[in-house]
Subunit: 174 residues, 2 copies
């Protein structure tokens, strides 16, 4: 006869909800990663973009298994990371929404190499994907920067605790 | 007879200074990564800590070749990531300063497993290092969370453009 045992989490285990809560309070700049997919442009909002090395110039970001962009990312050779400005909350939300055409608004143009660049971003960088490290069902990717572009100089968009923030003199610690 | 040629950067090359400037304007929460070294506690300020996967709970961060913590990180099996609060600018600066005893202030205690936990952090997570990905001279590491701790609830510290910022209602976009 079987018996259902309600065991405590294994020693050394951290609950997924606890882990998410931890990072929910860790602020991050907001980017949209775009690429050229087989069926058209692909893109998703990412708060996980970091610089890994300046020489050579390499960045990293992660993507969840559940992301609709994941299949395209598995095949793409290059991506563009668009760094969002404080007036682009709507863009951040749109590129995090499922089941819509995220590019329908038309506020982008393709590079000669096909990757979309979003209008209004503070800056963007085109990168050649170098490493794909599977982490559970997620993927950690590194990309070597091959081209950089700049938009109008504006304050960056920050995301923390499910809300957007604007940095500037009002937030500076002096 | 040899001749020195002043060539333009190779097509597809991004200058290290341009790349650094790009990420200087990308905001990030501030953490101090600590570990148990052979000669005592080791730690360094990191603005590159990201969540990669919640299930299993895995984070990532990078460390430069020039970091004095690099040798200890090559050997360590575990680290603690301490998330800094808005009143810990001095801690962030101290753990980014070379040639000093970063732990002399005594504002920390060791876990039973030896890694230092900093007093006053908003939260911390102990992680078992899983992957070490060499990227140029830098190292990209992943760590699986095995224990989480919480401090007093305070606003997080944010770093951008060589300055520290505090988030709160004053910075929130509504």
């Amino acid at each position: 006869m079987s018996q259902i045992l309600h065991l405590p989490p294994a020693r050394g285990a951290v609950d997924a909800d606890d882990f998410k809560a931890l990072f929910r309070h860790h602020p991050a700049g907001v980017a949209v990663v775009t690429l050229r997919g087989h069926g058209g442009p692909v893109g998703f909002t990412a708060t996980s973009v970091i610089s890994v090395s300046a020489e050579p110039p390499v960045l990293a970001f992660s993507v969840a298994a559940t992301s609709s962009s994941r299949p395209a990312l598995e095949e793409a050779g290059t991506v563009v990371v668009n760094f969002l400005a404080e007036d682009q909350r709507d863009v951040a939300a749109r590129f995090a929404t499922s089941g819509i055409d995220r590019f329908a608004a038309g506020d982008w143009h393709p590079l000669p190499t096909g990757e979309p660049v979003l209008e209004g971003a503070t800056a963007w960088v085109r990168g050649r994907i170098e490493e794909r490290v599977p982490v559970g069902d997620s993927l950690l990717l590194t990309a070597r920067a091959v081209r950089v572009g700049h938009g109008h100089r504006r304050e960056p968009l920050v995301y923390v605790n499910r809300g957007y923030h604007r940095l500037g003199e009002h937030s500076r610690l002096t």
